[in-house]
């Protein structure tokens, strides 16, 4: 669950003003807004990269300020998927996904048997097992993005934040990614996912709640229709 009160979001100037907003857990929220409306800035705030200019926010039982000062705690509460991962030479898909376990490992970063089992299970669920030993540079965009989702799942946090995760994907991979994300949220009622998107139609089609950013305001539409969304944008 995400609770926001009297919050001002932005870098040097306030981009978004949020009087009060509660996002119950167990849902995926699609963050919709025009270019430059501050979607990325809001996401940066959610993942603890950017402090609030004023007001307060809490993720589950933790205040945002607490998560910002405690790196280890934050990494067990929030995971993040960027819009694009270009791959790293000599880093296999398996090794990449395994990095999601970093917050749960000791100083030497050794994976235990339970970590490896978890990674294998997630790879299997996302149909990535056959690609496990492939270099991340040599994967397709779709495969890499699914791998990023797998890495975030493996991180095992109650909140997952995704910044336009599907923008470089074709129709089928987009569906696959969103399906898997839905599946992840439905597995545990304490889980919440927030992702930004430009694909309003797809979000309407799967019927998830929307957070609409418009004129420095954030509006939650729990059962959005196209007219409602368009009226706001």
């Amino acid at each position: 669950m995400i609770t926001i009160q009297q919050a001002q979001v932005g870098y040097q100037t306030t981009l978004i003003d949020i009087a009060e907003l509660v996002l119950p857990a167990g849902q995926i929220y699609a963050l919709i807004g025009r270019n430059g409306s501050g979607k990325s800035t809001l996401l940066q705030t959610l993942i603890g990269q950017l402090p609030l200019r004023a007001g307060s926010m809490s993720l589950g039982p933790y205040a945002l300020t607490e998560l910002q000062s405690n790196a280890a705690l934050r990494a067990r509460q929030v995971s993040f998927v960027a819009s694009m991962f270009t791959g790293v030479e000599a880093l296999t898909l398996h090794a990449y996904v395994s990095l999601g376990r970093v917050p749960h490992l000791g100083a030497f970063g050794r994976l235990q048997a339970t970590d490896l089992q978890f990674v294998d299970k997630v790879l299997q669920a996302l149909n990535l097992s056959d690609l496990a030993q492939k270099d991340t540079r040599k994967l397709s965009d779709g495969e890499r993005q699914l791998a990023s989702l797998a890495r975030a799942i493996v991180q095992d946090t109650p909140l997952m934040v995704l910044d336009e995760p599907a923008s470089f994907l074709d129709y089928f991979n987009r569906e696959l990614l969103l399906d898997q994300l839905l599946h992840w949220v439905q597995q545990d009622t304490a889980r919440t996912a927030v992702f930004s998107s430009h694909d309003i139609d797809l979000c309407l089609q799967i019927g998830i709640p929307m957070l609409v950013l418009h004129q420095h305001k954030l509006t939650l539409l729990t059962k959005p229709t196209k007219q409602e969304v368009m009226a706001l944008l």
Binding site: Q49, A71, A75, A90, V102, G106, G109, D135
Partner: protein, 315 residues
């Protein structure tokens, strides 16, 4: 995957033992009455120089490549050695002879290395590509070289000679008494780096993702800078600037192990770096009857083409 890495580690270890044996007993067999003294005062320190410098330089290269998120980074190409050189020159030329001891040498080199590394790190934030950074590293090196030349024109001939020899890079400068000091510093560097493995692994994905995985990125980077300067600085102080080991060996390690797991990369780079410099010194010993080659010449002959090949492959 893991098995292959273990085989490579074991293989390199065996090669290292063989090279060590050849270096100590085959190429420099015991002769005459002073053989024991020569063995402990000259041969062993020389071997230790090669072992420690190889290990430390390639480890500092690995750390820099991680810090700069750039496989072409290394202590020599980015001017870290030059920073150490400059400070050593300042010390040799400027300080009273009574002040020239272990401690002042190493701290001068480390200070220079740390300042150069920090300078390059700040610069790297402002340039976007590898090529520019390398050119700035070169400019930095030639700038410090120029200052050294100016300083030398004020120096006594004896001091100039001392500097010239030191600048050639040599595995024969370290005395038996100095060996434990360098040994302790390098071992400390290796152990300290092993404790950074988790952060180093995450940093491969870039600052933002490392942050998201709970890594204290800023702190980690300062520690990396410090350990790099400790390693590269102390080696430069004892052996002079040795080129290309720090750049070439970590790249070779990644290519052979096909991994970004820094636990394995650290172990392998350390072993392979030692192997490489001992092999170079074996070659120097072999050629010794006919010509004496400074260690820097040989590392450049082998290292420079390999680095050029890496550059070409990057494109």
């Amino acid at each position: 995957m893991m098995q292959r890495s273990i085989q490579l580690l074991l293989g390199t270890g065996i090669v290292l033992l063989l090279l060590t044996w050849v270096h100590l007993f085959v190429l420099q067999p015991a002769q005459g009455a002073n053989s024991s003294m020569i063995f402990w005062e000259f041969q062993v320190p020389r071997l230790l120089s090669a072992l420690l410098a190889g290990a430390g330089l390639s480890l500092s290269g690995l750390l820099m490549q991680n810090l700069f998120q750039n496989p072409m980074a290394g202590p020599y190409v980015l001017g870290i050695n030059s920073g150490a050189s400059l400070f050593i020159s300042l010390l040799i030329l400027g300080a009273a002879p009574s002040f020239l001891n272990e401690f002042s040498y190493v701290s001068a080199a480390m200070t220079g290395a740390f300042l150069a590394a920090s300078f390059m790190f700040v610069v790297s934030k402002r340039v976007q590509n590898i090529q520019s950074l390398l050119v700035i590293g070169l400019m930095f090196a030639s700038f410090t070289g120029a200052i050294e030349s100016v300083l030398q024109s004020f120096a006594a001939p004896e001091q100039v000679k001392q500097l010239f020899i030191w600048n050639m890079g040599s595995l024969q400068q370290m005395s038996a008494a100095q060996a434990p000091w360098l040994g302790a510093i390098i071992v400390f560097g290796i152990v300290a780096t092993l404790f950074l493995v988790k952060g180093l692994n995450a940093l491969v994905l870039g600052d933002a993702q490392a942050f998201q995985l709970g890594v204290k990125v800023k702190q980690l980077k300062i520690v990396i800078l410090f350990v790099t300067a400790l390693l590269a600085g102390s080696i430069t102080a004892y052996c002079g600037p040795i080129a290309f080991v720090g750049l070439a060996i970590p790249n070779l390690s990644r290519a052979l192990l096909k991994t970004q797991d820094h636990f394995l990369l650290i172990l392998f780079s350390v072993l392979a770096g030692s192997c490489f410099l001992v092999a170079i010194d074996v070659l120097i010993l072999l050629l010794d009857p006919w010509l004496s080659i400074p260690v820097n010449v040989l590392t450049a002959v082998i290292g420079a083409p390999y680095v050029a090949y890496l550059m070409l492959r990057q494109r």
